[in-house]
Assembly symmetry: C2
Homo-oligomer: 255 residues x 2
């Protein structure tokens, strides 16, 4: 459990390009929710990047140099203990932003943010972000709202990690990932899942076996496929349902 993040130490090859945003549609919901004026102001400071898997965006106790508006793929926010064990506390996909402490001017990260499924993002330097906040009230507002949503997610995951079995948590994880990614199969190893769930790799194998035998998923060498979503929802604990219910309720608010 201790060594597997070793190769993540170096912030591996981020292919960055210059495209905010030439015609291509933007999937990120925060950027997408900005009024035109702010969107243009923000776009001027963004840098488009493609990230591979297992790339560290922010290191624990390290400086937060950039904020990331995830556009596709998936990033995990992990807490890493002094003994080197890790647990995922939150997942961020195209609905969100990585680097939340920046929105109140805190510039060190209490967590490790690591890309989980390869994808793309728009990144902005901490400095530029700060100056954008002066002119873009809606940007700030949306980020603060996302921050509350994210806190809700941590809250739910915290309880779930304490109270429920590995197979239930694994089911929840698949559901949450699918929500943020779309599609029904993604590439990830059990080794990595074990870091997310804060268990042994062997426990993930067993738990995946349970879900597999029930016909909900198939798993083959780093590729999981969700075969029966409804089944997974039954296999998961109530945490998934109450999380989505609350998110829906909040998002349904007039504004």
């Amino acid at each position: 459990m201790t060594r597997a993040f070793a190769r993540l130490g170096n912030t591996t090859s981020l292919k960055s390009g210059i495209h905010p945003f030439p015609g291509q549609p933007v999937h990120n919901l925060i950027l997408g929710g900005l009024p035109r004026r702010e969107r243009e102001a923000v776009a001027a400071k963004l840098q488009f990047i493609e990230f591979p898997t297992h790339c560290v965006l922010n290191e624990i106790a390290g400086p937060i140099r950039y904020g990331y508006f995830i556009d596709s793929g998936l990033a995990s926010i992990l807490n890493v203990t002094s003994e080197g064990k890790s647990v995922e506390v939150g997942l961020t996909g195209k609905e969100g932003f990585v680097g939340l402490p920046l929105i109140v001017g805190f510039d060190t990260s209490p967590t490790r943010a690591v890309t989980q499924i390869a994808g793309t993002a728009f990144r902005v330097s901490a400095r530029d972000l700060k100056s954008l906040f002066r002119d873009c009230p809606q940007l700030l507002k949306l980020l603060h709202r996302y921050s509350q949503e994210f806190a809700l997610q941590i809250t739910q995951v915290a309880a779930c990690n304490r109270l429920h079995r590995v197979d239930q948590r694994l089911a929840r994880w698949f559901l949450m990932s699918q929500d943020r990614l779309g599609g029904s199969s993604f590439l990830l190893t059990q080794e990595f899942l074990s870091h997310m769930l804060g268990t042994r790799r062997a426990s993930v194998t067993t738990a995946a076996g349970v879900l597999h035998k029930a016909g909900f998923i198939t798993y083959r060498r780093g590729k999981v496929t969700i075969e029966d979503r409804a089944g997974l929802e039954k296999a998961a604990c109530g945490c998934y349902a109450s999380l989505t219910r609350q998110l829906k309720q909040w998002r349904g608010k007039p504004r």
Copy 2:
């Protein structure tokens, strides 16, 4: 584990009075951090209350009618699962505010907030709070900062609850409570601690026994006394240390 919150259902006797703030000093750090103008504007909308223990401030999935600036005592933020089990995800004392979703306009609570140690607070209605936000940028700023601090707390607690033993978590809890309360003994039953830690009451007894035998605490019918804080810090896992380190680091920021 299921029944113990029964009597909390009714929001028991909140003795409320009218004192924002006639001479008495205000301990709450958020209120205390406001510039005079804002402080007066806010004070006009506050109501002073004394709360007993085990009083529900916000119910899970319920409306958030009031925000509470805790002035003394302690409130816990709990997640309660559909099976009725509960885990504490955060603690709020005089440094904080209960009702965080309100600061972005969300008015239902994803968690249960319950008073843990009797004390006092200034409460403000959701409606008044909303209107205050228009004129009090510093209030909003301090609340947003607190929100990030609180998220950090959840993050740390989430990992701790997953990875560490009951006795370690119990030690952490005592330390966190003492930080927020001052003093070295507080009134609380093992039954309640079990809800906080998300374990059986019997496990709390055992864990408390460990800390007692080591000479760190004494426990007698609902009253714990911290006898050796340094010892407790060693008995706790690294979570407590890294939480306080990060908080200190953030709070030390120029602004």
